[in-house]
């Protein structure tokens, strides 16, 4: 999966979890600039990411992964 594809799949999952249109999720989306991304949605996002990519996140990673960019970085290392 290249950079674009990975970002796209993350956005797909976000859009599903947050119930937000994909166009509304920019590459700079983060917990602080997206209203729907609250603490419950945050956990649901990581539940969905774990399931879709068959990976495991640590508690610290879940705590710190509060933007699309950070999640991308976390995932990139895991699915390589």
């Amino acid at each position: 999966m290249n950079e674009k594809e990975l970002q796209k799949s993350i956005i797909d999952i976000m859009s599903d979890t947050f119930n937000v249109k994909k166009e509304k999720i920019s590459l700079s989306a983060s917990k602080s600039n997206l209203d729907e991304w609250d603490s419950l949605a945050h956990l649901k996002l990581f539940l969905a990411l774990q399931e879709s990519f068959r990976v495991n996140f640590s508690t610290d990673e879940i705590d710190s992964g509060n933007s699309l960019e950070k999640i991308y970085k976390l995932l990139k290392d895991k699915i390589r």
Binding site: L43, K44, L47, Q50, E51, S58
Partner: protein
């Protein structure tokens, strides 16, 4: 609409329950929701209620101690109480269906070799007691259905369904796989309850009901026997026979010479199924799609009542493409798996029954007739329930050692937070050292759990009146009146200070709707639903009458 109740956070299951709207009432608020007749549970929109109980949370602190006769009886008493609430709910909502899960033996409980080697009480006994209560519930009510969570956990494995880090991050325990399986099982159970199961099982013959091909291997060459792999086909036939006995219609759709098949049914004494077990038999060289359409018209049933079983993937594909309403499960490529496959993938999915007879279904009404003078005579009110919790409230005044926890509460609490002011540790330290501000931290403990510091009040005293700068409570303890005890005890500490008035402000946010009526419920007045105010003495009297238990002030 489905109401989801639980002692853990199961909100994400909503995303998987696609067929129906659903609402999750909140983490561990199920008892308060049942007792509060104004809660969403009692609205007519709700026709299905799913109560998911996690056994570890039911055990509470007992989980961390080795079990004894004493803890077992405490547990049973707690359960009796919880089940008396569930009984109340079932009676009041006899037009809704309640689904409740059984529980597996969870390895995270305090286990050792003693669990299997001790003649005394072990955690397995706790699990048994809970599951037996469900059996009783089931026999008393036909609108209560038990969801077999134990079977799911057994099939999938605890480690594939539970993810402890989400428990610590957000009081969730299950992963998405578990949420998916639970929601599928819930929907299947409801379908079955509503009689939406399949009615007809249509079977191919060669390599499906027996091994080999009738026209080539002949009467005695086909594999159906008590030895070797022939036994797998016999087991399969036994299961099909018992499906017939619970009312499923059997039919044949097969490409054979009818005379070969007649002979097998008449003369092969290893066959479990007899010719007459099949209501309709299409044994010919026609297209199976056409045969199936004819079966539907012979039986006068819609295609969506059929399940078609065939070992040949080409035939299966043909049916799937041409008659998409028919269910066509894959057939195992190794016949050794036929028994477990048929049980899980066919019987469970398409033919599982909730009731054996119509009499079972009418039980609710028999039960209702006796209910009033039986269990309900001692039914508890929400007040009784709160009293029975043995709640111990401790209020810590200006305690610097808790400043980190207090600041964190202001940062993280979004729901029961009247003003949502965020403070840092430095801010809290400043309040503690100031002459006008007082910081009150709330410690909460009941017979199930010690929750630690779960609430905060910051009061500004200007000499004449008290201003409630901050009032917040963790959602974990909502519905037990702790907020009123907390407010009363806080205000009482100003008794000698000659205070005239108490003022407060409620600032509405997207998330704090739960606290909207708090100040009015507590006895303060408002004209604009933002600013609240009342005489100090009046408020004390109001709260003294309202509260059901006391709290302890700790002034170190």
């Amino acid at each position: 609409m489905i109401a989801l109740l639980s002692n853990i956070n199961i909100e994400p299951i909503r995303g998987f329950l696609k067929s129906d709207e659903s609402i999750f009432t909140g983490y561990n608020t199920y008892i308060a929701d049942i007792l509060n007749h104004k809660s969403v549970l009692y609205s007519d929109e709700i026709d299905k209620i799913f109560l998911f109980l996690d056994i570890e949370e039911l055990l509470g602190d007992m989980l961390f101690k080795y079990p004894s006769d004493n803890s077992l009886s405490v547990f049973e008493n707690n359960l009796d109480e919880i089940f008396s609430f569930i009984y109340q709910l079932l009676i009041k909502r006899n037009n809704a269906v309640l689904v409740i899960n059984n529980v597996p033996f969870i390895s995270a409980t305090f286990i050792s070799y003693l669990d299997t080697n001790s003649p005394n009480v072990t955690f397995r006994d706790f699990v048994k007691i809970y599951n037996n209560k469900l059996k009783q519930l089931k026999s008393d009510f036909s609108n209560a259905l038990v969801l077999d969570w134990e079977r799911i956990v057994l099939n999938e494995g605890i480690n594939n369904l539970f993810d402890p880090k989400f428990w610590y991050l957000g009081r969730m325990k299950l992963n998405n796989k578990a949420f998916k399986l639970l929601s599928d099982e819930f929907s299947n159970l409801i379908n079955s309850y509503k009689g939406k199961t399949k009615k007809v099982l249509i079977l191919d013959l060669d390599n499906t009901l027996w091994g080999g091909i009738a026209g080539e291997d002949g009467l005695n060459g086909i594999k159906i026997s008590e030895d070797g792999i022939g036994k797998a086909f016999r087991d399969f036939q036994k299961l099909i026979k018992s499906l017939k006995e619970i009312g499923v219609i059997l039919a044949i759709n097969s490409k054979n010479n009818e005379s070969d098949i007649d002979e097998i049914f008449q003369k092969n004494n290893m066959m479990i199924l007899k010719y007459d077990d099949f209501i309709v038999r299409k044994i010919n060289w026609n297209n199976k799609v056409q045969n199936l359409i004819e079966i539907a018209s012979d039986l006068d049933l819609g295609l969506d009542s059929f399940v078609f079983i065939d070992d040949n993937p080409v035939e299966r594909q043909l049916i799937k493409e041409n008659l998409p309403e028919v269910c066509v499960p894959d057939f195992p490529s190794d016949i050794s798996y036929v028994k477990s496959w048929f049980l899980e993938e066919v019987i469970y999915k398409y033919f599982a029954k909730v009731y054996f007879t119509h009499e079972d279904k009418n039980k609710t009404f028999q039960y209702l007739a006796n209910a009033e003078r039986k269990k309900l005579s001692k039914s508890l009110s929400i007040e009784d329930f709160i009293k029975s919790l043995n709640i111990k409230i401790k209020i810590y005044i200006n305690l610097s050692k808790y400043k980190q926890r207090i600041a964190q509460l202001t940062q993280k609490t979004n729901q029961f937070n009247l003003r949502t002011k965020r403070y840092t540790e430095t801010d809290i330290e400043r309040f503690i050292n100031s002459d006008n501000y007082t910081v009150f931290a709330l410690g909460y403990e009941d017979k199930f759990n010690n929750e630690g510091i779960v609430g905060l009040v910051i009061i500004l005293n200007d000499g004449e009146s008290l201003e409630i700068d901050t009032f917040l409570l963790s959602c974990r303890i909502i519905g037990r009146d702790a907020e009123f005890v907390f407010l009363l005890k806080v205000l009482e500490t100003f008794k000698e200070k000659n205070i005239k008035k108490v003022n407060a402000v409620y600032i509405k946010t997207k998330k704090n709707g739960i606290a909207e009526s708090f100040y009015s419920d507590a006895g303060l007045f408002t004209e604009n639903k933002i600013d609240y105010s009342v005489d100090y003495e009046k408020l004390i009297i109001f709260l003294e009458n309202k509260t059901l238990y006391d709290g302890e002030i700790i002034n170190e």
